[in-house]
Symmetry: C2
Subunit: 218 residues, 2 copies
């Protein structure tokens, strides 16, 4: 057991938490923040399930990865649960993110990130196109992709977003991981090879639409 | 058994294919297209695993949902497998998609979709902002969101992308589903309620980044 926010939870180093659970945590977190803002102090898995259109049993199973802090027949302490989830995700401090590729998608993601209140901030934008280098995207200036390793190392950046064309993605990823990046969100429609211990999430829009088509045909 | 592309496969109506498998199919499909373009006729699960940085056993398990068409010790016929996956996803004909919300993200998705060669095409873009209605995004003109039901019904659209602010998402989704949309890709950072039988995939960028932070902290 380790202590996070004063509450004993299972060590996340010893328990392998499935990626699907990790991906649901921001949804729980956002809803808990809304409940807290509405003055709700305690919530049951049944209520969470109703609100989130999810299975209460799955919610209980997901949250059990982080310890037995729900009280049977009563529910979860909203503030406590919110704190635990934020701590597990590492959201108790600002996390800098490098974005590579200042095309339509990269620019949109950058604007979007600047509009929302999130501890995860795009702090560096890179592009190889001389016409884009030096231009502004909201509060950021597009940097020369040649300086990528230098800037990523200097700012100790561990997260990056890939928004370059498919054929440019792998070299960019190699450079990012060599400079210390360990978590990647990849919008390029291509599979990536990464060193052991580096996590890649694919968020390729074209693939999302292709697989969505399966559900549209019936 | 039903026949797709001349090949006997398990009926997808009788077999519940996990969503995670459906989501991996576009990745297999893209790679098979690349292999075919390179003149490769047969591929083993081991080779697919090496190329895609995936587990060969998982690939075999995924593909077994669609029948036993791989030949032990030989591999998969690339063209046959490509045809089967495309048929299962319903990609043998064009599929029209409505996009609601012509902000930064919606505009980027629209440009992106027009740049790639895909049977899934954004054919209608809607926005409620009078300043945006009538403007062009590539080959499309932004339509008045008041005409949403009428246009979606007229074009018999079954897929839609939600790129509106969080508080506008649920009413838009209610209108889309009432007009016949059954598959939704949601970029708004909010949980959605949909009628039975309607599929929603969440692609909320802020949540993706928040959960990615988990992998960046270690």
């Amino acid at each position: 057991l380790i202590h996070i926010g004063g509450i004993a939870v299972l060590s996340i180093k010893n328990t392998r938490i499935p990626d699907a659970v990790i991906r649901r945590l921001p949804v729980y977190l956002r809803h808990l923040e809304q409940l807290l803002a509405s003055g709700v102090a305690v919530v049951s898995s049944q209520e969470l399930g109703d609100d989130l259109d999810a299975n209460p049993a799955q919610i209980r199973k997901d949250l059990a990865y982080f310890g037995e802090f729900g009280r049977k027949g009563v529910g979860y302490d909203v503030r406590q649960l919110k704190t635990i989830i934020a701590d597990i995700l590492g959201l108790n401090r600002q996390q800098a993110v490098a974005l590579v590729g200042a095309g339509h998608l990269g620019t949109a993601l950058c604007h979007h990130n600047q509009q929302v209140d999130s501890p995860i901030r795009i702090t560096h934008v890179f592009d190889a196109d001389p016409a884009k280098i030096g231009t502004r995207i909201g509060s950021l200036t597009v940097l020369d992709a040649r300086d990528l390793e230098f800037e990523v190392r200097r700012a100790q950046i561990r997260m990056a977003i890939i928004a370059v064309p498919a054929d440019a993605a792998q070299p960019v990823v190699d450079r990012l991981t060599s400079a210390g990046v360990v978590a990647l969100l990849n919008f390029a429609p291509v599979s990536l090879r990464v060193p052991e211990g580096v996590y890649v999430r694919h968020a390729d829009f074209t693939s999302e639409l292709l697989s969505l088509a399966y559900y549209a045909q019936r």
